[in-house]
Amino acid sequence: MFDDISGARKEGNFFKLQNFLQMTLALEPVVIKGTRHGLLVCLREEADFSTTLGCLREKLQADEGFLKGATVSVDLGWRELTETQFGDFEAVLTEHSVALAGVLSTSLNTRTLAEKRGHKAIIGRLGLAQHQGRALRNVRPPKPEPAPPSRSEDPPVPQVVKPARAPEPEPEPPQLRDQEETLYLKRNLRSGQKAMYPGHIVVMGDVNPGAELEAEGDIIVLGQLRGRAYAGCTGNAGAQIWALGMHPTQLRICDAVWTGEKRRGKAPASLKAFLQGKEIVFEPMPIR
């Protein structure tokens, strides 16, 4: 499944859900990945923080020869940290002489906290801690996986799903295409708040008038879209905007603009908007 993410999609949602459920049974709270740009420490959001820190300490200990003096970035995903927790995290890194280059987080509070403490913060979530079983690239740790191999190499159930998983590093893990990265906002956006993301944006809540969304990809609002939405902001004409309650003050897709002429009457409000030629058109969402 990991060799071909798009393959899994073709199998349908049920297969993916099954995989996901099986995967979550034996996931590590901390995964250290080698990326093109450097080492990335991925912390799984669901794990309890002190367990996560403990696991991080173990890993840094296990690979001390290799990681000492290195610089890492950390992917916190949607996890929100308190000042104390962040301080403890920094302390664990310092203990093992590891420097922190920056923080990836989809939480504004966490990014603000990171910046306050003098680190660079970027919006985003790679969620690589979910994708267990892929080896580091461009780095040569003593073992194929930075973790004790028995845990992530053959967890009992996912064995069924990944039949060809052998304990040696994969030659070329699939690249994460930026266009598929999604920002999840699990709250309402109030007037004056703006979310910008080089990917898709999903809002699980309302977007009030005066709030703005700007995405390079699609915008999906699982609530009332009453503010402004700009999809495909870097020129992606295939971007779409879907909303359960489509009442925006303004929509933009790529170069086209739709200024909110109020729709009267009992027209369905769950609509999707997309470009047809140079105009933005609406269609009811395909839900029955």
Partner: protein, 270 residues
């Protein structure tokens, strides 16, 4: 230990000062010890609407600057009530004269001495607002059922949530039930669609408010004022959060009966 509540709105002129004065007076009538602080530095008016302007010697800026020994010197007791005090703002300074840390420290001191500390926040989202929310435990957002007021209130709620303010309540002020019925004014549902806050109460538009301000007498003291009655109800709800909302329509008995019949017909049809 007292509670510090900031009364804010974003938009100006929606009724924050009136609400502060009336809620304070109402809480004092209910037997609590209350201090009202006007944090609108440079444009002070809380003391005006309570008719206490002449007695102000020291103000908020004097207290934070240390010009008077303690806040007790600057507090003015309103003689009409058992335990209502006011700390007026400075008229000849501006909003940079006070810093958020100073407000926080003052609120900590006042919490020891009073049951309720109400802060009248200035309009806007700049230094005045930041000062007012610095020491507050809870917030009350006052707004009118009108698009620009609601939009500004939404902005303010966003800022309050970002400042991690617990307990944000809503007072919908200057409601005209007749206009709402005719669809010419936003209903409370329309407002709550956007703001989604705990509703403390709705105050109807009342001519007597202007007269009360001019006289320097809070409307809660006026038994014939509908706004006063609404404020008294809101005070009861502040003290007992589970209290059900008061009906605020000026519907006559006949139209209420008619509604009852049409509701029945509707259910029969379906």
């Amino acid at each position: 230990m007292g509670k510090v509540i900031v009364i804010t709105s974003g938009k100006g002129g929606v009724g924050k000062t009136t609400a502060t004065a009336n809620l304070g007076a109402g809480l004092a009538l209910a037997g609590k010890s209350v201090v009202l602080i006007d944090t609108d530095i440079g444009l002070r008016n809380l003391d005006l609407v309570l008719g206490l302007e002449n007695r102000i010697v020291f103000d908020l800026v004097d207290v934070v600057d240390g010009k008077c020994r303690s806040f007790r010197q600057a507090l003015i007791k309103d003689k009409r009530f058992d335990n209502l005090h006011i700390l007026a703002s400075a008229q000849s300074r501006d909003k940079d004269a006070v810093k958020p840390e100073q407000m926080k420290a003052l609120c900590v001191e006042l919490r020891q001495a009073f049951d309720y500390i109400l802060l009248d926040c200035p309009a806007g989202i700049e230094m005045g607002f930041k000062n007012a929310i610095a020491g507050a435990d809870e917030a009350v957002v006052v707004t009118n059922p009108e698009v620009s007021a609601v939009r500004d209130a939404d902005r303010i709620v966003g800022l309050l949530e970002a400042a991690e303010m617990q307990g944000i309540g809503l007072i919908l002020n200057r409601v005209k039930p007749g206009l709402v019925k005719r669809g010419q004014m936003l209903s409370v549902e329309d407002v709550q669609d956007i703001l989604n806050l705990k509703l403390l109460g709705m105050v109807p538009e009342d001519e007597r408010i202007v007269h009360a301000s001019n006289k320097g007498e809070p409307a809660v003291l006026d038994r014939s004022s509908k706004a006063g009655e609404a404020y008294r109800d809101i005070v009861m709800r502040l003290l007992d959060p589970g209290r059900p909302l008061m009906a605020t329509s000026d519907e006559g008995m006949w139209s209420k009966l008619r509604r009852l019949f049409t509701a029945n017909l509707g259910s029969q049809a379906s």
